[in-house]
C-alpha cells in the first residue's frame, strides 16, 4: 500500500462541545490506483484529507488517535522536519476552489516556478521553462505567452488545470483531489477528469478523489470508500458496489439519484438528516434513518465487517450487511 490510514480520529472543539469529525477512518490506496471517497456534506472527507496532508487547523482540530502510513512510515509519529520532507516530495493536494488557492498577485509562471526553485533548487530561468512545460502538459493553449498572466485572467477550468499542474510538478506518488470539479460545468469537468486520469496513468500516482458525485465515481474510480458521520461505512471495488451495495446508506444514496438514461417520477429519499457531529447517535450512527434498523443497531457500534460473500475485498459497517447485499 502506498498510503494506509488506520483508525484515524479527529475532533474539533466547538462552542456546542466536541465535534467528532473523524471517528475511526481506515482506507488505503495503492500506486496507480484511484480511490474515491464519497459522502455527504460534513461527513469528514476533507478533514481526513487535511490530516493526511498535515494542513489540519490545530487548534481547533486535534488528532486523537490512529495512524497514517505513507510508504510504510507513520506520518503521525515522525519528527516534524522529517514529516515535512516526506510530504513535500511525496504527496500533493488539489482543492475545489482554484481561485482562492492560487495567489492572486503572482503570475501563474511564478507560482509554478516556485515549486522548482524552492524544492529543487533550480535557477529562475530553468524554473520558468519548467512552468511552461507543465502548462503545456495540462493543455493550456499558448503556454509560452500565458505563463506571465495572473490567475484571474484564466477561466475556471483553466485555473483548475493550473492547480493540477502545481500538484504534479514534483511528480508526487500520491495526489489528493478534494472535489476538483464540483465548481465546474460538465463539459469542463469532463476535460479536467480526463486530464487527471491520464496523468495518473502516466506517472502511476495513487489518487484519492473526494467527491459527493456518484456519477464521477462510477466514471473514474477503482475503489470506493463511503463515509457517513466521520466513519467509513462501506468500501469496495467500484463495479461491485454499484451492482450490490452491502450497506443500507450506500444503497439509499444509489437509489436516490435521478438517472440520465431513465425517466422516473418518484425517487427513493433517505428520510431525515445527517446527525450533528456533537451528538452522534449511539450504536450505528445511521440507525435513525435506516429502514433496516433493529434493536442491536441502537446499542452496538458495527465494526467494518469483512464482506465474505463477495469475490473481492469488501467491507461494510452494518450488522446486517449480508441481508443488504442479497436483499
Amino acid at each position: 500500500m502506498l498510503l494506509e490510514v488506520r483508525d484515524l480520529h479527529v475532533e474539533f472543539r466547538t462552542r456546542d462541545g466536541v465535534a467528532k469529525a473523524v471517528n475511526g477512518v481506515s482506507y488505503g490506496v495503492d500506486a496507480g490506483e484511484t480511490l474515491a471517497v464519497l459522502g455527504e456534506s460534513g461527513s469528514g472527507k476533507s478533514v481526513t484529507a487535511q490530516t493526511i496532508m498535515g494542513i489540519l487547523d490545530t487548534p481547533p482540530g486535534k488528532v486523537t488517535g490512529g495512524q497514517i502510513l505513507f510508504e510504510g512510515r507513520d506520518l503521525l509519529t515522525l519528527k516534524e522536519e522529517e514529516r515535512r520532507k516526506v510530504r513535500g516530495a511525496g504527496m500533493a493536494m488539489i482543492f475545489q476552489d482554484a481561485l482562492s488557492s492560487l495567489n492572486p498577485v503572482l503570475t501563474v509562471g511564478d507560482q509554478l516556478g516556485e515549486m522548482f526553485t524552492v524544492h529543487r533548487g533550480m535557477s529562475r530561468k530553468d524554473a520558468r521553462a519548467k512552468a511552461v512545460e507543465l502548462m503545456d502538459r495540462v493543455r493550456i493553449p499558448g503556454a509560452r505567452e500565458r505563463v506571465r498572466q495572473y490567475p484571474h485572467q484564466f477561466s475556471g477550468g483553466m485555473r483548475q488545470r493550473i492547480m493540477i499542474a502545481m500538484a504534479i510538478a514534483l511528480e508526487p506518488r500520491l495526489v489528493i483531489a478534494d472535489e476538483p470539479t464540483t465548481a465546474l460545468d460538465v463539459t469542463v469537468q469532463a476535460q479536467v477528469m480526463d486530464l487527471l486520469a491520464e496523468l495518473r496513468r502516466e506517472y502511476r500516482m495513487g489518487l484519492i478523489l473526494i467527491t459527493h458525485d456518484l456519477g464521477v465515481v462510477a466514471d473514474v474510480a477503482d475503489r470506493i470508500a463511503v463515509m457517513y458521520a466521520g466513519r467509513i461505512v462501506e468500501t469496495a471495488p467500484v463495479h461491485d458496489i454499484y451492482k450490490a451495495p452491502a450497506h443500507p446508506y450506500t444503497r439509499g444514496l444509489l437509489d436516490s439519484i435521478p438517472r440520465l438514461d431513465q425517466k422516473g417520477r418518484q425517487l427513493y429519499a433517505i428520510k431525515g438528516l445527517p446527525p450533528s457531529l456533537t451528538r452522534i447517535p449511539p450504536g450505528c450512527a445511521f440507525h435513525p434513518r435506516c429502514p433496516m434498523a433493529r434493536d442491536v443497531c441502537r446499542t452496538d457500534v458495527p465494526p467494518l465487517y469483512e464482506v465474505t460473500d463477495a469475490p473481492s475485498e469488501r467491507g461494510s459497517a452494518c450488522h446486517f450487511w449480508r441481508e443488504c447485499l442479497h436483499g
Partner: protein, 400 residues
Amino acid sequence: MAEPILEVRGLVKHYPLTTGILFKKQVGAVKAVDGVDFHLDRGETLGIVGESGCGKSTVAKMLVNLERPTAGEIRYKGEDITRLSGRALKAVRRNIQMVFQDPYTSLNPRMTVGDIIGEAYEIHPEAAPKGDRRARVRELLDVVGLNPEYINRYPHQFSGGQRQRIGIARGLALRPEIIVADEPVSALDVSVQAQVINLMGRLQDEFDLSYLFIAHDLSIVRHISDRVGVMYLGRIVETGRDAEIYDHPTHPYTQALLSAVPVPDPEARERRERIILTGDVPSPTNIPSGCRFRTRCWKARERCALEVPALAVPAEFRYARGPAAHDSACHFAEEKRVVPPAEEGAGPVQGPSPGEGPFAEGEGPSAGGPGASEGEEPGTVGPRRRGAHREDGEGGADGG
C-alpha cells in the same frame, strides 16, 4: 391543443457596458439573453439546461419581473405581460412565483418562517383575509412537510433541505399557477435533493402547477421534465420532449453536453462515447457570427459563420415522424445517441419497484402521475450493445 399558459417570444436582455464616470458612453452589451422562444402548458414541466452564464437565471428573472426585458414578449394566457403595469401587472405576478437556488441566502435571517411565508399576503392582501393568514401559513408548512409548530423559528434553525422547503412554501403562498424554480436543489446533498424533488412532483399533481425548472444537472432535469430546452450563450439551441432530447439529440452542443455527464454506472464506462469539447465558452459581449456554437463545434463549416441557424425542425427530419423531428438550431443536424440506454437489471433499480423490501417506499404519496413512463420508445427494452443502438439512431433519422 389548448393555449399555453405561458409563451415567450424573442426574449432579449442586454446589459449595457459603459465607460466613463461623468459622461457614460455605451461601448457594448452583455447579451445575457439573446432571443429566446418557448412555451409552457398547464400542468407541465419545462426544464431549461445549460452551462454557467448561458442566461438561465436572467430568463427566470424576466418571467417574474425582477428584470425588464430589452425586447420580446412574455404572454401569460395570451396577454403580453411586459406591457402591463400597476394593478394589472400585480394581478398577473401573483400567478407566477419563483423558488431560488440558494436556501442559505434567499431567506431573510431576521424574519421568522411565519413572516417569510406570510410576507406575500402583505403585498397581495386580497389573497387571504388578515385573520386567516397564520392558519394559511401553518397549512403551507404542513403541505411542504414541515412541522407547523416551527412557524416562529428563524431560518438558521433549519437545515438546507428544510430551508428549501420554506422557499417552496413561500412560492406557493399565493396559489400561483406557474412556478419558476431556478436551481432549486443544486445546493443540497443527494439524499436531501431527492426529498425536495419528490415534494415538487407531489405539489405539481396536487395543485396542477406548471413548472419552469432550471438546472445545470441534466439527470435531474430529465427526471422532472416533460420537455427540455437546451441553452447556449443566450439562446435555446434545441428543444423537445425529454426522450427526444436525451435519446435522440440532433444538436452538437446537446450531444457534447450529454456525453459529458457522468453516469452512476461503472459498466457504462466502456460503452460510452465521450465528446470532449475544446476551448471555452465565448464571452456574451462578443458572440460569434452565424451559429454561436461554431467556435467549439467539431462540425462547423463555412456556412456556420455566415448564417444564423433557426430553431426549427431541421429539413432532413421534417418529413420523418421519428423522435429526431424536433426543434434544433443547427445547419447540419444529425441524430446521435450519446446516452446508452439503461441496461436491464444494471445496478439497484430505482423508481417504483414493488416488492423491493424496505427500499420500495419513497417519501411522500404514491408515484405515477402524467409522464410516469413515457419516453420509453419502442425497442429500448432489453440489454443491447453498441451496434444495436447505432442502428436505431439511424432508423429514427431515415428520410434525411
